[in-house]
């Protein structure tokens, strides 16, 4: 890990290593994103605050913040920002960096879901809706899982009716034809991304 050379300037690191990170310096701290974000009142660090913290060099605080994980991608902030910062993308980019650096908050539900989704998808090249739902329901233990499954019963049945969810998927499920080719592609993409973003 060669992050030491960045620690003097977190802004510079964000510019190099985070998707759309080069936009952060354009923020004029007007507060419109903070005031427009529907989640604003419920999280600790609004985008406005995160961008200021980046400039102030607060690396640990930013990357361990749970705020980026709360973003629902509603795009309200992007639409309103007078400087047209791609705020949503920066927030997701920061979350990704945090995860790769091992600084993302533990047991963060969005992060957990993200990991579950990724593992599920990359196994066969197709999302196994059934396993994904079950994985999500049972992530906090067996009895909580049953409760969750009961609560979501009608949604599940509706999805089955609409042929969006098949009980047969439990057997292994569908996937792409060339699974090893698909895996190789992902590996290559990750290598490229890692070298470009200096992720180890």
């Amino acid at each position: 890990m060669s992050i030491e050379k960045y620690t003097r300037s977190f802004l510079k690191e964000v510019e190099e290593r985070v998707e759309e990170g080069h936009w952060v310096k354009m923020c004029m701290q007007c507060g419109v994103c903070a005031g427009s974000c529907p989640l604003g009142p419920h999280w600790e660090h609004t985008p406005q605050k995160i961008f200021m913290m980046i400039r102030a060099g607060k690396r640990e605080e930013v990357l361990s913040s749970d705020s980026m994980w709360m973003c629902t991608s509603c795009y309200q902030c992007i639409v309103r920002c007078p400087r047209k910062l791609p705020i949503t993308h920066i927030m997701h980019g920061l979350a990704y960096l945090a995860k790769r650096e091992g600084l993302a908050p533990k047991n963060q539900p969005t992060a957990q879901f993200g990991q579950l989704f990724w593992d599920n998808l990359t196994k066969t090249g197709r999302v196994n809706e059934l396993k994904l739902s079950l994985g999500m329901y049972f992530k906090d233990g067996f009895s909580q899982g049953i409760k969750n499954a009961m609560a979501m019963q009608s949604v599940g049945l509706g999805m089955m009716k609409a042929k969006r969810l098949s009980p047969m998927e439990i057997m292994g499920g569908h996937g792409v034809k060339d699974k090893s080719g698909f895996q190789a592609m992902l590996k290559k993409a990750r290598e490229l991304e890692d070298s470009r973003r200096k992720l180890a």
Partner: protein
Amino acid sequence: MTEVVATNQTILVVGGGISGMTAALEAAECGKEVVLIEKNPALGGRVSQLYRYFPKLCHPTCGLEINQRRVKQNKRIRVLTMAEVTGITGAPGDYTASVKIAPRYVNENCTACGDCGDAAETTVDDAFNYNMGKVKAAYLPSRMAYPQRYVVDPVVIGTPEADKIKAACKYDAVDLSMQEETVQVKAGAVVWATGWKPYDANKIQPYGYDRFANVITSVEFERLSDPHGPTGGKILRPSDGKEARNVAFIQCAGSRDENHLRHCSRICCMASLKQTNYVREAFGDEGKSTIYYIDIRAIDRFEDFYQKVQADPNVKFIKSKVARILEDKEGNPVLHGVDTEGYHRYATPYDLVVLAVGMEPSVSAANIPAEIVSDSSGFIEQDQANGAIFGAGCAANPLDVNRAVQSATASALRAIQVINRVARAEG
């Protein structure tokens, strides 16, 4: 038929605001012939619609009156009102402009006695007061209009009311047979001084200008504060006529915003600082103003003015661009946002909210009927490619009056140089 004597040694000035008047006067007082074209029925432009001027807080009447007198006394200036330039052809030293003149239905005999206004029954929107009130269909554009001549609105033309208006005039000044006409005006150089217009506040969706009666614009606030305005100078809010003692000002409403105008409009910080004085003047210590801003841009010597307002305990400054406005049950606009100094979330009601709207060119350079180089906001750039067409005042930049006048004088000098060259060539 309107007759305009003009030659290649004439300077055509388009726009009769403070900039156009200045350019016309400077050129004429240097001995040049000038034709001054104004779209409205009177000269003066947006300055005549201000209640007071920063930085000295005097009334615009004084500065404008002097200029009007100078125009009146100068035989070299020919003023055409209700006129617009629809086309310009030719080259430096030899332009021809097509000028479309709308019928006023009132001729030079008018003494502004007002009898026609008394006779009229129909009312029309009062453009001078940004449509906040009504005027009779035979009206004087404003109290200090130059020329002091009435206008009959086209809505009554062809009705019996028009005949009644004509009959009321003892001076044979009402001429209902006037028609729109187009005249050709020769000119060696053109000063383009069509000024600015307020950014359309309806486009700033989160502020609800179109939905909330008590959200108004800074230009409307000027008229509300003026004793000759629609409320007789009382700051009453539109929804219920209640005195607006607690007023919020929102800066950069439509400026410095990629979704609206990209540029800083440069005068709106000073305009709001000035307008806090109107609130104080109206209500004394009972009048409270709050300015929401990104940063206050009071340029060079205006800093003193800013510091004076900062020292006023009845004026509060909140560093934040308001995210949105909602309305409570009493019709108070409630401002929502997060302040930058401490990141506190607020939801604060006010009696009245004034949007410090941005300035955009009233005629974007793309719509000027000649090839003109402009910046991304449509303001005229100073560029060789423009030939002898020179931008002046707010047609070239968002400027305060002082700087607009400087810019106009500079344009007049450039135009004079072209005319001098023509004069030498023509011998």
